[in-house]
Symmetry: C2
Subunit: 186 residues, 2 copies
DNA sequence: CTGTAATACTCACGCGGTGAGTAAGTGGAG
DNA sequence: CTCCACTTACTCACCGCGTGAGTATTACAG
């Protein structure tokens, strides 16, 4: 129906990652997000917002909810992944992000779930992202070189982006090393 | 009335920068934004969005519009800064941004207008921002050092932020040098 | 037996941003 | 001279998104 719905759902895919571990209800997911010292550092979601996102994911068919009655309490809604949701999550997990600005949240979320999944998944994510960044950096450099010196400002903007991208590439290498050597915990 | 209005207006302040040069109507501002190879690279605004932002700025008393009739054409709305708008813009222009994420748009916008204003304004902006970044970086380093190695992920997140911040600091120096030496144009 | 925390979820509202539309003058092709 | 396309200049209705606030039940401390 609405194309925008599916396409802008990119961050929401991360939520599927929780359900891949085991079906759970929204409240538990919220606990995991806010209490964990890990992802909670990066991504803060209000409860109501989380519920909204989840119902969107349900609308597009990535999750189904089973209403589990319990005594006279209001019933709990246990959510689980559909095959479509599984597939969407797997696609999301290994696809590199396109813009520098997507690192602070989205790429870190990918990394979080990739680490949780399997070392090889994480390595594959890092590889692909590395390539994407490398070619983005090259594009930026070409752009700056081929630019007539129109304005100091434009030049500084491009230099800013290059330097951010370069730092990201180095950090990606750090990640790869850190994950390759099983020196430590979790 | 609405506190949120004023506080979330941070990016909108940039628009005041156009009016500080000379009063103009919204359409002209839109031209400047989209056609200029400079700020247009960084900040893209739809026409309707721009009009919305401007009317918000009017609502809080930063600009006033003078309706200028012209023959039988629909009248133009010339906007100009109020003293409050002037003051707000000056405050905005020299205040450093607080988060790394605010660089891509907001800080670059500040820099654009600072360069246009006066070399000394730009230097002052760069100085203050440098200090803010330096202390942010220190906070990050302390945080990472004093963190029990709870998880690889958290560590990588902090390293990511540090590396981005470090790159920004170097870039700020580049900017300062570039603007100090009057090697080239505009 | 009162109050506060934890569990689990819902909803009405308001603002922001987009797409689309309006309306009048201008300049060149045929 | 007239039709069409472009430029100038601005408006509006819609709708999704996120927030604040609220609801309802159980558990447990004092």
């Amino acid at each position: 129906m609405n194309v925008g719905l599916v396409s802008s759902l990119t961050l929401e895919h991360a939520l599927l990652g929780f359900l891949r571990q085991h079906p759970m209800h929204a409240y538990e997911m919220h606990q995991l997000l806010t209490q964990s010292k890990a992802l909670g550092r990066v991504w803060y979601l209000k409860q109501s917002h989380l519920y909204a996102l989840l119902s969107r994911l349900e609308r597009v068919g990535y999750i189904v909810t089973a209403t589990e009655a319990q005594g006279n309490r209001p019933p709990r809604k246990i959510m689980s992944l559909t095959p479509a949701g599984q597939a969407a999550f797997d696609r999301w997990l290994t696809a590199p992000v396109e813009h520098g600005r997507d690192f602070r949240l989205e790429f870190l979320a990918k990394l979080y779930f990739a680490i949780g999944a399997d070392p090889s998944v994480a390595q594959s994510l890092l590889d692909r992202q590395r390539q994407a960044c490398q070619s983005a950096l090259t594009r930026l450099q070409v752009q700056r070189q081929s630019m007539e010196p129109e304005s100091t400002f434009s030049e500084l903007v491009l230099q800013f982006r290059e330097s951010q991208m370069t730092a990201i590439l180095e950090w990606l290498d750090t990640c790869a090393e850190r994950l390759a050597s099983p020196v430590s915990g979790k």
